[in-house]
Subunit: 146 residues, 3 copies
Amino acid sequence: MQSTTDPALSGTGLYSEIQQFYAHQMQLLDSGETDAWADTFTEDGVFAANAHPDAKGRETIREAAGKAAAQRIGAGLQVRHWLGMLEVAAQEDGSARVRSYALVLNTPAGGAPAVHASTTCDDLLVRGEDGAWLVAHRYISRDDLR
Amino acid sequence: MQSTTDPALSGTGLYSEIQQFYAHQMQLLDSGETDAWADTFTEDGVFAANAHPDAKGRETIREAAGKAAAQRIGAGLQVRHWLGMLEVAAQEDGSARVRSYALVLNTPAGGAPAVHASTTCDDLLVRGEDGAWLVAHRYISRDDLR
Amino acid sequence: MQSTTDPALSGTGLYSEIQQFYAHQMQLLDSGETDAWADTFTEDGVFAANAHPDAKGRETIREAAGKAAAQRIGAGLQVRHWLGMLEVAAQEDGSARVRSYALVLNTPAGGAPAVHASTTCDDLLVRGEDGAWLVAHRYISRDDLR
């Protein structure tokens, strides 16, 4: 498996498709649809980070997401995950490596929005049986943790 | 009229085109060109929100935008509307439904930028006679108002 | 040389390609790879701004970027440049004019992210010998400086 950062090989159709995938995925998370969100990971998907231990496997990821969403609701926060500045590298096996930036914004009821975290996001995306993208591996690095 | 969230049907060309439409539209608003901004709505367009009564019709929208721009100038604020995380669903009749996130950032002269509002934006876009996109219906939901 | 803002002429492939260019360029800057970042300017490129004197020529830009990066590291800040809301206008000579918004976010170790600056970015992009985009002229206007 070789990788490329050649824009021509990455494909511009691919770029928009992956932007739409992330928009869909983050909207699921922020609206509390954590079951549907977890289904955007492969069955053996890994959610790694510098802020917490790795979550390995879709069911572990699902459980962790459900708990985190319940905490946010309990705290009265509407969270928005913004993911942008995507650098997409198509792989020869049809997968895609994507390095992006993500911001987490929290808005309390009746209060002002605050930028809660600035992170990088390193994903390995693969296509599921229906052709839709799935996260096989994600690594989130929070900028404040050094 | 049926809708689809199938990325293939949504079309990747469409996705970039709509990103460019929003960039153009928001730059008009933030530079105070509220007349040109209002012209990006259909004649019977609706601007609805959870923060204020509906503005119905392009001329009503134009008037409200002009007043809001005058207030911002009076307050010495440079406003920037960032719209992102677009989920585009092409409709069979050629229109497009777009759900996105938007941030409003205010910068006073000589001061630091502040995130003023975090919102969702639900748009129905249609093509005008010249093929350019127009907003037929917009609904802005501020995250702090619950 | 004539310009166009016609989305059909701007090309949607072009739009994604330029988004990827900016993601790559800003990731280089924020990871401290200021040499590689400076190489994304033409040899006679200009970095102009309302916050500092013009930097003229790639080597001048390289030197200024290196000093700024050293300052940020000395201050213990992880900086993230978000560039978005791109309005791309393809030029008949193959170059592209791009007006966008940019945010600078600073995160101290162990601290909360802060929006340091909100700016507009006006670029003239040209293709280098290998077809990759290069910045021939950039003008950054900070929203707080008026």
